[in-house]
């Protein structure tokens, strides 16, 4: 009984104190005088729609510290990002998406091109994006939706891609990588050097590709070309006959039991590889790192036919204007200023502005990640966990070698609709 009374007494007092405190706080903040917007104008918030690649908590925290802009992440898969741009363009401010999605997104008129003049580091962006060559002058393969083909718009509100440089940039590049096959060297026990190994009957029931049609068919095309069956004019833009041919090769392999499973997301690919269900498969670089961090041997295997590359960048929703648009520019400028670039480089991706990222990395880190040199010290992930011991060399070597070895880019084909139907047939076969 006394217990109860005492509790009530305390809570009433606390409540009174709390109320007084709140009132005082309200008076102090000026809210009570009738100018609530004074407070809200300070809260710079950007809703950021994208895949998980760029969306690190550390990036958001550092951004808030440096610029006062609060980033609210909306994470979705690449397909869902595109869907959201089409159906709910007002549900985000900044869009982080892949260049190949632009062929769908730009004609919809739901995004706003950014003004290159307002991007401080624009002239320092790697020539990979602007010229299609590495800083060292190596020409990069342009098959598929290569970023330089869709980098500029004809005008501010244009829905057409410009053939030469203009002021209006569809996506300010942020991150990109060169993808290849992941293998389990401990289970394969011999060197792998060609994409054609994916369909080698030696790995029957132990191979996998990803079940994302637009990317899966590119990997399939690399295999077809590597095995000498056919040479495509553009793997990223096939004719109906070429699609049929590619899918025929894949269907035959599937019927012969070549594939253990297909994967659709990062974790599935990690599980397949780590559990030994597959020994050779399409993979993403950080997924290989993840398998390795579990103590299982896994190599992101460079192949003689080259890499299939992808790239993503920033633009804004068409509904963004005024102060919010300025914050968006401030955010993009901050993103290219080095911290985020170094963060991405340390994950095995590449940053768009190399000079600023380099300034934010230790020389030994830069040497390991970008120059392909053996690690002088242990290499740590952004979260501090050990990635590689001293002496290790990055798969595929230097930036020049990897980006210079790109054969094609992720793409949306003109015959995309037909391709998706054929892909469904392949899955049903």
């Amino acid at each position: 009984m006394t217990e109860t009374t005492r509790t009530t007494g305390v809570s009433r007092r606390t409540l009174l104190k709390g109320t007084a405190g709140l009132a005082g706080l309200a008076a102090g903040s000026g809210a009570i005088t009738g100018f609530p917007y004074v407070k809200s104008a300070d809260a710079k918030v950007l809703r950021y729609l994208g895949t998980a690649v760029n969306e690190g908590d550390d990036i958001a925290k550092q951004c808030l510290k440096d610029t006062g802009i609060k980033i609210e992440y909306i994470t979705a898969t690449t397909d869902d990002v595109t869907k959201r741009v089409m159906t709910q363009p007002n549900s985000f401010d900044v869009l982080d998406t892949e260049y190949f999605s632009l062929k769908k997104i730009v004609p919809s008129g739901n995004i706003l091109a950014l003004d290159a003049k307002k991007i401080k580091q624009f002239d320092n962006i790697t020539p990979v994006f602007t010229k299609g060559e590495t800083p060292g002058g190596k020409k990069i393969g342009g098959q598929g939706t290569a970023p330089w083909k869709v980098l500029y718009l004809e005008g501010k509100d244009s829905k057409k891609f410009a053939t030469s440089a203009t002021e209006f940039v569809t996506l300010i590049p942020t991150v990109y990588n060169a993808d290849t096959l992941g293998i389990r060297p401990d289970l394969i026990k011999r060197p792998i050097s060609s994409w054609s190994e994916l369909l080698n009957p030696e790995f029957k029931g132990k191979a996998s590709i990803l079940n994302i049609p637009s990317i899966g068919i590119m990997d399939a095309a690399m295999v077809v070309e590597a095995s000498g069956k056919y040479k495509y004019a553009d793997k990223g833009n096939m004719t109906k006959e070429e699609i049929d041919l590619t899918m025929k090769v894949m269907t035959e392999a599937k019927k012969a039991g070549q594939f253990r499973a297909f994967w659709k997301d990062f974790n599935e690919s990690v599980n397949l590889m780590a559990s030994g269900e597959t020994v050779i498969q399409s993979m993403w670089s950080p997924a290989v790192t993840k398998v390795r961090s579990m103590g299982i041997a896994c190599t992101f295997q460079p192949l003689k036919e080259g890499y299939r590359s992808w790239a993503s960048g920033f633009c804004v929703s068409k509904g963004v204007s005024g102060a919010k648009l300025e914050w968006a520019y401030e955010f993009v400028n901050w993103f290219l200023s080095g911290y985020a670039g170094a963060y991405l480089n340390r994950q095995g991706y590449y940053s768009a502005v190399l000079s600023t990222a380099k300034a934010h990395m230790e020389p030994y880190e830069w040497a390991y990640w970008m120059e392909g040199k053996p690690a002088e010290k242990d290499i740590k992930a952004p979260d501090g966990s050990l990635l590689e011991k001293a002496g290790a060399v990055r798969d595929g070597g230097s930036y020049e070698d990897r980006m210079g070895g790109v054969a094609c880019w992720n793409a949306v084909m003109d015959e995309n609709d037909y391709m998706v139907r054929k892909w469904n047939e392949f899955i049903a076969a």
Binding site: D79, D80, T82, K83, M86, K103, K104, I105, P107, S108, G205, N211, P213, K254, F259, R260, A261, F262, W263, K264, N271, S275, G276, E277, V412, N416, D417, V420, R421, W423, N424, E425, I427, A428, A429
Partner: protein, 317 residues
């Protein structure tokens, strides 16, 4: 809504139902009251089922391009779906194969869940005498549902995989030399996971029907000299029919539309009707996705109509 139910629910409001009328005559007509009572449910049904469904049907007849819906009439969603089906005859086209596969999986899961579910319900209803134990054991059946069904599904993978528990167990005992590959990413694993996930949907309605069977009927059968099997076939099964049909409807509708379980457990290599819809939506081909949804709906509806021909659920309830 029937008069009886109304009277039970609100005897005072219905004219001629006892003393209420004399005390306070009401101006509301009985049919109006019926509408009023059924109204909220009807509105929910309309807003969250019929209207969205109508949209799906309408959109399925629209045209589309890479990035938008074109709101004018087109049968393209349907013609694309059945593309090449006539030319390929007598061989089945993709959509035919996909539906056949979906139906096959659906039938297998239905038959197994029915068999297992029936005996679990039978055990609960007739062998467990105490009401407390019946309640306790039925609650026990729900425990797997306390975790997400994705987790329950994924839990099978380390068990059935090439280097999984089952295979390593079998290898150790010397029963096999090579891991059994068809345990995972096969029709077997799909059916296993679906049965694991959905047997409960059979147990509950069948148990519910069985518990309402008058025990004296079973005694009468026994007294009349029927064997256990004869009692089962002639008394228990016919009287459990409503539960069997309701359970079957649950299982069939869920399995026909499933693509996540089939995807994960089938290693994304087994086509399912739901998977086609998902791929279409991801490719922003909403009309084609809607057309496939309509086809799936029609087929599922046909199956359910056939089942309710066998048992008149309205009468049995």
């Amino acid at each position: 809504m029937s008069e009886e139910v109304l009277q039970q629910a609100s005897p005072g409001l219905i004219p001629g139902s006892g003393t209420a009328r004399a005390a306070k005559p009401t101006r509301l007509s009985p049919s109006f009251i019926s509408w009023l009572q059924a109204g909220p449910m009807m509105l929910v049904f309309l807003a969250f089922f019929l209207i969205p469904l109508a949209f799906v049907v309408i959109v399925s007849f629209w045209d589309y391009n890479e990035y938008q819906l074109l709101p004018h009439f087109s049968g393209r969603g349907y013609t694309d779906t059945f593309e090449g089906c006539l030319a390929q005859l007598p061989e089945l086209c993709t959509i035919g194969k996909t539906y056949l596969k979906t139906l096959k999986l659906c039938f297998m899961v239905w038959a197994i869940t029915l068999f297992i579910g029936f005996w679990i319900a039978y055990f609960l209803a007739f062998h467990v005498k105490s009401k407390t134990w019946q309640m306790g054991l039925s609650l026990l059946c729900t425990i797997p549902f306390w975790t997400s069904n994705v987790i329950r599904m994924i839990a099978w993978i380390p068990l059935l995989g090439r280097n999984g528990l089952v295979n390593s167990g079998l290898m150790k005992t010397g029963l096999i030399n090579h891991p059994v590959e068809w345990l995972l990413f096969s029709e077997f694993s799909v059916v296993l996971a679906l049965v694991h996930l959905f047997t409960f949907f059979m147990v509950v309605p069948i148990f519910n029907s069985m518990i309402r069977i008058d025990k004296s009927l079973i005694e009468a059968a026994y007294d009349a000299g029927a064997s256990g099997f004869q009692t089962l076939v002639n008394v228990i099964i016919p009287l459990s029919k409503p539960g069997i049909v309701i359970g079957s409807i649950f299982v069939i509708t869920i399995v026909m539309g499933d693509f996540i379980t089939i995807g994960v457990m089938g290693g994304q290599q087994i086509a399912a009707a739901g998977k086609i819809i998902e791929t279409r939506v991801n490719a922003l081909q909403f009309p084609a996705a809607a057309a496939n949804a309509v086809i799936l709906l029609v087929i599922t509806f046909l199956i359910i109509t056939m089942m309710s021909r066998i048992v008149d659920i309205k009468k049995e309830l």
